[in-house]
Symmetry: C2
Subunit: 104 residues, 2 copies
Amino acid sequence: MTHRAAPEHTHPDKVSLITALDALGDPVRIQLVRELAASQEWTRSCGSFDVPVRKAALSHHFSVLRAAGLVEQRDDGPKRINRLRRTEFDERFPGLLDLVLRGD
Amino acid sequence: MTHRAAPEHTHPDKVSLITALDALGDPVRIQLVRELAASQEWTRSCGSFDVPVRKAALSHHFSVLRAAGLVEQRDDGPKRINRLRRTEFDERFPGLLDLVLRGD
DNA sequence: GGAAGTGTACGACGCCCGTCGAACACTCGA
DNA sequence: TCGAGTGTTCGACGGGCGTCGTACACTTCC
């Protein structure tokens, strides 16, 4: 009847510009954000992404994305499913997410 | 009759997103860009910025900004004067510079 | 109760980045 | 010609970030 501690989130409103730029200045995190944007909300578990890092590093990257207000997480059984905070983040940093999702 | 080697520039068109985000993900460089944006073009020499680093580090930061297509430099006597590549950079990364200049 | 699957926490390691001092190159004015 | 001013380069240093393996916590299914 115990349950996992809910992950700590930061709303984009309380995120500094530097934090946001640093969070998006990493290739692995950019890929996570892009894959997440291409999926339905609350459908992707952390382990379902095609990134070249092991799960410890992956967990770290999700922690950074949460702290930057980019990703919201919720527990669903043994998995932790994700959602890109598209509208909130875009309201705080207009155009930034579009830039990342537009690709090169 | 010798003259200094012209600084190496990179046009924003040839700059990757990661490079741009990394260049703007540093507080010193952000301040440089902001002060530069608040000044007339070709009026600010490298040493005229109010940043808490010595000239060696300052020179490095300007090198990064040039490589990211953010700053253009020209020699003017003993000084090296700067210009923010506002329109070119904005064309390559729409909204990104606005985000930085809007502040927090 | 056990086993498998999922994600986090911790300590360690390596590397890159920002910083500095010192030495050097160049320009201009005295 | 010499000195002052400006900026770059070099080597070195320290700290932080990304990564990993391991151990642990929690959930679900058998």
